[in-house]
Symmetry: C2
Subunit: 119 residues, 2 copies
């Protein structure tokens, strides 16, 4: 159970970071954090064909960062903050761990500096 959860978690992170590794997809995500948008609204500022935009959107949807729903002939997209938070949390945890170890090293160096020089 736990192993399956961990494998899913790792697979989700793979897809989310992969989705974020492209500047066009980051631009689309950037637009969507300001509110839901249709596919053509998403495509407007991008210098590429609509099928190319749809392909990027599919990568974003597969990663769980974006969801979309079709009403009539218009597909509206929106950010799914849960996946965004998971990626942020993964990085923040590592940064915190690194900083804590750096603090510990600093404290150790300060302590040993106070000790009288044995030479």
């Amino acid at each position: 159970m736990i192993l399956k959860y961990m494998l899913n978690y790792q697979a989700d992170l793979n897809l989310a970071f992969q989705a974020l590794a492209d500047p066009t997809r980051r631009m689309m995500l950037d637009r969507l954090t300001r509110g839901p948008a249709s596919v053509s609204e998403l495509a407007k500022p991008l210098a590429m064909s609509l099928p190319a935009v749809v392909q990027h959107l599919q990568v974003l949807e597969a990663s769980g960062l974006v969801t979309s729903a079709k009403v009539g002939r218009v597909r509206t997209c929106q950010v799914e903050p849960k996946a965004l938070r998971a990626t942020e949390q993964w990085i923040a945890d590592r940064r915190t761990m690194w900083e804590r170890n750096l603090d510990r090293l600093g404290a150790y160096l300060a302590e040993t500096a106070d000790e009288p020089d044995p030479s």
Copy 2:
């Protein structure tokens, strides 16, 4: 100047997110946040050949997330927190923007709910 800066920034983010999109590279980074390590120390818990580990290390170094230095015959690797912080900041900015817009929508809905029903 600003355009060149923005292009570099985007390229850096591409490489950093790309590096984070692989579970082996995340494991290596995870190990390095607990302190510097040699390449063989990094390779120990991984079920792969040393050349495969070195290849992953090269991706991490190209992304700026990790630096390494060779002293004698031992190459020691460490985390470069600047690149880690840049990726975290990019995600945090989008999440904050999204939450702010959600708050605004909530406030708007609460306000309009107080208004007398015109029907």
